[in-house]
């Protein structure tokens, strides 16, 4: 049996360290790429929030016909006072032709 090469162990250790570094770089690169692709996908495709996907009894108003799968109309994602707001007082009947006309345009 030939005597062991005293440099072989050193070369092996050097090779293993290089392999270990390469593995770490590949892992870090894969994680970064996954994150980047996720961000791109999140911006590219429309999302559907879980809160917006349900009409619950607490947010649906009586008489409302908000579609299933749509946000409760007027709820404005829970923002207080952010829904469609009624006037301070309802219109009252009047006579004459009016100063202006509200109609389609």
């Amino acid at each position: 049996m030939p005597p062991p090469d005293p440099g072989a162990a050193g070369r092996r250790d050097t090779g293993l360290r290089q392999l270990s570094r390469l593995t770490r770089w590949v892992l870090a690169g894969a994680l970064a790429l996954t994150g980047a692709l996720s961000a791109i996908a999140a911006h590219a495709f429309p999302g559907r929030g879980t809160a917006a996907g349900r009409v619950t009894p607490s947010t649906a108003r009586a008489g409302s016909s908000a579609r299933a799968g749509s946000p409760a109309a007027g709820a404005d994602d829970g923002t207080t006072g952010g829904g469609l707001q009624a006037p301070a007082s309802a219109p009252s009947a009047a006579s004459g032709s009016g100063a202006v006309t509200s109609g389609g345009s």
Binding site: A86, P87, P91, A93, S97, G98, T101, S102, G103
Partner: protein, 310 residues
């Protein structure tokens, strides 16, 4: 008690009317309204080559730096979409173009070849507003149309600005989108409600009095055109990319602001048979007119002829 005053000028493809409770302040109010309308037109017009909206729509998906007016207008449009479950969606611009409404309406051909395909409306959730950087981004191929909200927003802003400038109550109508600010005259502001804003004082309809806020009307009887055998109008259902089925000829809504009134009126046209219950549930006084002329009133909209002395 000072006499009221009134002035008008062509604007936004229709007309602007300014009414003041004190006629001596008319000029100040009129100037304020004109300035606000001009700002909205330069920011939000889909048909002006130099508008900010045109730049956004042509940017191929890149963010575009815009001014405060367009930032506000796009945010208002996205709020409208959110509050109506997507019924009033600003990304219908491409669908309108495919239907033939691809230029100022006066230049749209009254008739033409059939529409062979409708655009898939991309959806308002794909629009990004970066308020901090002052940028708006729409995906490539998406065209924003702010027609359902920008004119009403202009009416709200113009009325508030004019009331400040004039120091008295002001009523503004922009193509039938009506907003009031400041102290109204005794008896309130008299507003005629009809199918068409320019139909004249004797047009079929009703007159109501409002003390403030907004009143808007959406109608399927105006901005109509034909492609093949199909009768089209300008209110697009985002779920089909085509003109909404005509369940209501005209819907008028009163709300705290003209924007809210117009959003509700437009959504009601699109929601069809479900609209009256929806408006009633929100407590929005509304008048809905069927194609045969019969009327449904909800949430306190007054019966005609029941005039109460002030």
């Amino acid at each position: 008690m000072p006499a009221t005053g009134q002035a008008s000028f062509p604007a936004l493809g229709s007309g602007a009317v300014t009414v003041v409770a004190d006629g001596r302040r008319l000029e100040a109010a009129h100037q304020a309204v004109a300035a606000e309308v001009d700002a909205i037109d330069r920011a939000c017009s889909r048909f002006r080559a130099d508008s900010e909206l045109t730049r956004v729509n042509a940017a191929g998906g890149r963010p575009v730096a815009v001014g405060e007016v367009l930032l506000d207008a796009v945010e208002v449009a996205l709020r409208a979409a959110r509050l109506t479950g997507g019924d009033v969606d600003p990304t219908v611009g491409q669908a309108l173009m495919l239907l033939g409404y691809d230029r100022d309406f006066d230049a749209v051909a009254a008739a033409g070849r059939p529409v062979v395909r409708a655009a898939v409306v991309p959806g308002w959730r794909r629009v990004r507003v970066d308020r901090r950087r002052g940028r708006v981004r729409v995906p490539a191929g998406v065209r924003l149309d702010l027609g359902a909200t920008a004119k009403a927003l202009a009416a709200d802003r113009a009325a508030a600005r004019a009331a400040r400038a004039a120091g008295c109550g002001v009523l503004v109508s922009l193509g039938g989108d009506v907003a009031a600010a400041g102290e109204p005259p005794p008896g309130g502001w008299q507003v005629r409600v009809a199918d068409w804003h320019a139909a004249g004082p004797d047009a079929q309809g009703e007159t109501v009095s409002i003390a403030g806020g907004g009143l808007a009307t959406s109608s399927t009887t105006v901005r109509r055109w034909t492609r093949g055998e199909e009768h089209l109008h300008h209110i697009v259902d985002p779920r089909t990319g085509r003109s909404a089925p005509v369940v209501w000829r005209t819907v008028s809504v009163a709300a705290a602001t003209c924007v809210d009134a117009n959003v509700a009126a437009t959504a009601a046209i699109i929601r069809g048979v479900r609209a009256a219950a929806w408006l009633g549930g929100l407590g929005l006084p509304a008048r809905l007119v069927r194609p045969d002329g019969s009327v449904v009133r909800v949430a306190g909209w007054p019966e005609p002829g029941r005039v109460v002395a002030a």
